[in-house]
C-alpha cells in the first residue's frame, strides 16, 4: 500500500482533532481531540520513517507517546479538579483568566 495514504490519513485525523478542540465545549472531548492530534502526528512520524527508511521517526513517536501519557495525567487531573469545584466540565465556564 502506498505510504502516502497514511500521510493523508494523518492529515485528516489532525484536522478533525484541531476542529474538535476549537468547536467542542466538553473538556473531556476537547482533551480527546488533543490526543487525536498527537496521534495523527505520531502516524505522520512513523509513515515518514517508513518512506525514508530510517528509524528516527519511530523513535520520536515513542517519545511523543510518553509525553502524551504524562500530559494525560496532568490534564485529566486539572479537568477533574475543575469539575469538582464548578460542577461542570464545560470549557467555556472557567473563563476567569481574562482582561
Amino acid at each position: 500500500m502506498n505510504p502516502e495514504n497514511y500521510i493523508i490519513l494523518s492529515g485528516l485525523l489532525f484536522t478533525i482533532g484541531a476542529l474538535g478542540v476549537m468547536i467542542r465545549r466538553n473538556a473531556i472531548v476537547v482533551f480527546m481531540s488533543i490526543e487525536l492530534m498527537l496521534n495523527a502526528a505520531n502516524l505522520a512520524f512513523v509513515s515518514f520513517a517508513r518512506i525514508n527508511g530510517t528509524l528516527d521517526g519511530q523513535v520520536v513517536a515513542f517519545f511523543v507517546m510518553i509525553v502524551a501519557a504524562a500530559e494525560v495525567v496532568v490534564g485529566l487531573a486539572i479537568i477533574v479538579t475543575i469539575f469538582r469545584t464548578r460542577r461542570s466540565a464545560s470549557i467555556d465556564e472557567p473563563n476567569l483568566l481574562k482582561y
Binding site: 484541531a18 478542540v21 476549537m22 468547536i23 476537547v30 470549557i91 467555556d92 473563563n95 476567569l96 483568566l97 481574562k98 482582561y99
Partner: protein, 645 residues
C-alpha cells in the same frame, strides 16, 4: 577730551620680575594664615572658649598688623625697583595648559592694602569688643570678622586672578554672613540676601574676565597677563576691561549695581565700618588699579569706568543728603567717595595713584565716622534716626571729637586727610576733562552739605531725644579706637604726602603721568574749598534752627527720589526682577502644559490603546486555540513560500 593738557612727565609701570621672598617676606602667608586660623578656631569650637573668643579675634589680626608694619619698614629700606616679592605656596590647579599656583605677590600696592586692612581691622576688632559686649553671639561675630580679614588679605595678596577670585568670593561670603548677623530680623536677612545676589552679578563679570584672559593669554597670573596685554586685540582688551568693571561695580556698589549697599547697613555698625566703608567695597578700585595694564590700552573701557564713577559719585552724594538714618546717610557718602576713586582709576596713569591715596584716607576717616555713629547709637538705645538726635556733643564729647575729625577730613578742609586726596583727584580729573572735573567739584560741594547736615542734626541744635534715651559716652574699649582713628583722619593725608610720598611709592606699580593745567593748582584748590564751604553754609542755614521730628512731606522731587535711593529698587524690579519672574511663570506654564502635556498624553495614549487591546484576552480556550491554529498556518504558509521555489 576738552581739558587735556600737554603731558609734562610720564613714568611707565615697572614690569620687573618679582623678587624671591626672603627674610621677613618669607612670612607673607602668615599674614593670611593668622586671621584664618582665628576664624577656624572661633567658628568650630562651639561654646568652648566663649569668654575668650574676642581675645583670639583681636590677637590674630593684631599680630598680622604688626607683621605688616615690619614688612613695610623692611620694604621702605629697599630701593624702588626691589620692593615687589613673590612667593609660591603650592601648585593649586595643574591640568593640561591650565596651571595655577597658590602664590602671593607683595608689592607696594598690596603693602598699603595690607596695612589698611590689618590696622583699621584691628581697631575695629577692639571697638567691637565693647559694641558687641551684650550680644550672646559675640564669638561668632569675631569668627566672621576674622574670616573677612583673611579673605580680604588673600584678595590683595594673590598673584593671579583666580586666587584673587577666591578672596573676592570669600569677602562676599563674610559680608553676607555679617550683614545677616542678626538674622532673626527679617530686614537683616533680606538685606544679606540682596547684597549676595547683586554681588553675584558682578562676580559673573569677574569669572568671565578670567576665562577671557586664560583664552587670550594662556595664563591668569598678573605678571604674564600684564606683560602680554599689548599683544591682545583691542576688542578683547575692551571686553576684559568692561567685565572687570562689572565686577568692580558689584563689589564696590557702583552704578548700576549700587542698590545693596544702603540695605547692608542692617548689619552691626563695626561691620559697616570695616566691610562697607573701609575695605571690602574698595576691592573694586583695587581690581581696576591692579589691572592698569589693561585699562591703559582700552580707551573705551577706561571711559566707561570714569562714567560709572561720576554717576555714582553724584547719586551717592544726593542720597546721602536726604537720608535721616545716620548709617544710611554715611552709606550714601561711601558710595559717593568710592565713585571718586573709580573715577580717578578710570583716568589712567594720571589717576591711579590718587585713587589709591583717596582709598587709604577714606578707609581711615570713613571707618572713624561709622564707628562714631556706632558710638552715638550705643548711647541712644541703638536709634539711628538723626531727627531724634541733636545736642549730643556735651553728652559724648570723645565721640563728638572723633566725628568732627572725620567730618573735617571728608569735606576736605586743609590740612585734614580728605583735602589732600580729594583735591588730587579733582586735579587729575581736570587734567583729563573739564566736565569730569566740574562734576568732582560739585560732588565735593554736596559732600560739604550732607556731612554738615549730619553733624548739625546729631550733635548741635536742640535735644529731640526719645523719652527713654539717656545718652552717655561709650566705654574706653570703644573710645580708644575712636581717638586713634580720629587722629588718623586728621593726619593720614599729610603723612602719606610728606612722609610716605605715596606718589613715588606707588608709581612702580601703576605708572604716573602729569599734565599741564590751564588753571593753577592753587586756584583749583580755592575753587573746591569755596564750593565745599557753600555746601556747608547751605546746610547750616537750613538746619540751624529746628529740625522737625517727622520728616517733612512737601519736598522737592530730588529729595523724594533720594529718600527712595534713586528708585534703584523700582528700576531693578523693572529691569531684572519682573522679567525673571515672568520668564519663570512662562516656563512653569510651559512645563505644566507643553512638557507635562506631552508626557501625560503619551501615557494616556498607551493606556487607552492597551485598554482596548486587552479585550483580545477573552478567557475562552477555543479562541486561543483558533489563534494558535491561525498562527501555525501563517508560519507554515510563510515557510512554504520561502522554501518552495
Amino acid at each position: 577730551m576738552i581739558g587735556t593738557g600737554a603731558v609734562v612727565a610720564q613714568t611707565a609701570p615697572l614690569l620687573a620680575p618679582l623678587n624671591a621672598a626672603t627674610g621677613i617676606f618669607q612670612y607673607i602667608w602668615v599674614l593670611i594664615a593668622l586671621p584664618l586660623a582665628g576664624a577656624i578656631i572661633l567658628l568650630t569650637t562651639g561654646s568652648l572658649l566663649k569668654r575668650w573668643g574676642h581675645i583670639i579675634g583681636v590677637a590674630t589680626v593684631g599680630v598680622s598688623a604688626i607683621l605688616g608694619i615690619i614688612m613695610l619698614l623692611e620694604m621702605m629700606g629697599r630701593s624702588a625697583d626691589d620692593r615687589a616679592f613673590g612667593q609660591t605656596a603650592f601648585t593649586w590647579v595643574f591640568a593640561g595648559q591650565f596651571d595655577v599656583d597658590v602664590a602671593f605677590q607683595l608689592d607696594q600696592l598690596s603693602m598699603v592694602f595690607v596695612l589698611l586692612i590689618t590696622i583699621v581691622g584691628t581697631l575695629i576688632h577692639i571697638y567691637s569688643i565693647g559694641y558687641m559686649a551684650h550680644d550672646p553671639d559675640r564669638k561668632r561675630f569675631f569668627g566672621f570678622l576674622n574670616l573677612f580679614i583673611a579673605a580680604m588679605l588673600l584678595l590683595v595678596l594673590a598673584d593671579n586672578y583666580l586666587l584673587l577670585y577666591v578672596g573676592w568670593e570669600g569677602v562676599g561670603l563674610a559680608s553676607y554672613l555679617l550683614i545677616g548677623f542678626w538674622q532673626y530680623k527679617n530686614s537683616a536677612a533680606a538685606a544679606a540676601k540682596k547684597a549676595f545676589v547683586i554681588n553675584r552679578v558682578g562676580d559673573v563679570g569677574l569669572s568671565l574676565a578670567i576665562m577671557l584672559m586664560f583664552v587670550t593669554f594662556g595664563s591668569v597670573t598678573f605678571s604674564s597677563v600684564f606683560a602680554n596685554a599689548g599683544e591682545a586685540s583691542d576688542s578683547t582688551l575692551t571686553w576684559i576691561g568692561l567685565l572687570l568693571l562689572l565686577a568692580a561695580a558689584g563689589k564696590s556698589a557702583q552704578f548700576p549695581l549700587q542698590a545693596w549697599l544702603l540695605d547692608a547697613m542692617e548689619g552691626p555698625t563695626p561691620v559697616s565700618a570695616l566691610i562697607h566703608a573701609a575695605t571690602m567695597v574698595t576691592a573694586g578700585v583695587y581690581l581696576i588699579v591692579r589691572s592698569n595694564a589693561i585699562y591703559d590700552r582700552t580707551v573705551f573701557a577706561a571711559t566707561a569706568v570714569v562714567v560709572v564713577g561720576v554717576i555714582t559719585m553724584i547719586i551717592g552724594a544726593i542720597i546721602g543728603s536726604a537720608k535721616d538714618d545716620i548709617k544710611k546717610a554715611l552709606a550714601g557718602s561711601t558710595m559717593s567717595q568710592i565713585g571718586y576713586m573709580v573715577l580717578a582709576a578710570g583716568l589712567g596713569p594720571i589717576g591711579y595713584v590718587f585713587a589709591i591715596f583717596h582709598l587709604l584716607t577714606h578707609g581711615v576717616f570713613k571707618a572713624n565716622l561709622f564707628l562714631s555713629a556706632g558710638s552715638v547709637m550705643h548711647g541712644m538705645n541703638n536709634g539711628v534716626n538723626m531727627r531724634r538726635f541733636g545736642a549730643l556733643r556735651a553728652a559724648m564729647i570723645i565721640t563728638f571729637g572723633a566725628f568732627t575729625a572725620g567730618y573735617l577730613a571728608i569735606i576736605g578742609i586743609p590740612p585734614f586727610s580728605g583735602f589732600y586726596s580729594k583735591d588730587k583727584i579733582i586735579h587729575a580729573a581736570f587734567e583729563q576733562s573739564n566736565i569730569v572735573g566740574i562734576a568732582g567739584v560739585l560732588a565735593a560741594g554736596i559732600t560739604g552739605f550732607y556731612m554738615t547736615r549730619m553733624i548739625v542734626m546729631t550733635f548741635f541744635g536742640k535735644a529731640r531725644w526719645e523719652d527713654d534715651a539717656h545718652p552717655h559716652e561709650s566705654p574706653p574699649v570703644m573710645t580708644i579706637p575712636l581717638i586713634i582713628l580720629g587722629f588718623g583722619s586728621a593726619f593720614t593725608g599729610m603723612a602719606l604726602v610728606y612722609w610716605g610720598d605715596i606718589e613715588t611709592w606707588l608709581t612702580p606699580v601703576t605708572g604716573l603721568e602729569e599734565r599741564e593745567l590751564a588753571i593753577p593748582t592753587v586756584v583749583l584748590e580755592m575753587l573746591t574749598l569755596a564750593t565745599v564751604l557753600v555746601g556747608v553754609g547751605v546746610a547750616i542755614w537750613i538746619y540751624r534752627r529746628s529740625v522737625p521730628i517727622e520728616p517733612p512731606q512737601k519736598v522737592s522731587v530730588l529729595t523724594v527720589a533720594a529718600r527712595q535711593n534713586m528708585f534703584d529698587d523700582a528700576i531693578n524690579d523693572v529691569v531684572a526682577v519682573r522679567p525673571t519672574w515672568y520668564t519663570a511663570r512662562f516656563l512653569v506654564w510651559f512645563d505644566n502644559r507643553a512638557v507635562d502635556g506631552f508626557v501625560n498624553g503619551l501615557a494616556a495614549a498607551v493606556g487607552g490603546v492597551s485598554g482596548r487591546l486587552r479585550r483580545i484576552q477573552t478567557g475562552f480556550t477555543r479562541t486561543y486555540a483558533l489563534v494558535m491554529v491561525i498562527g501555525v498556518l501563517a508560519v507554515l504558509t510563510a515557510l512554504g513560500l520561502v522554501m518552495l521555489p
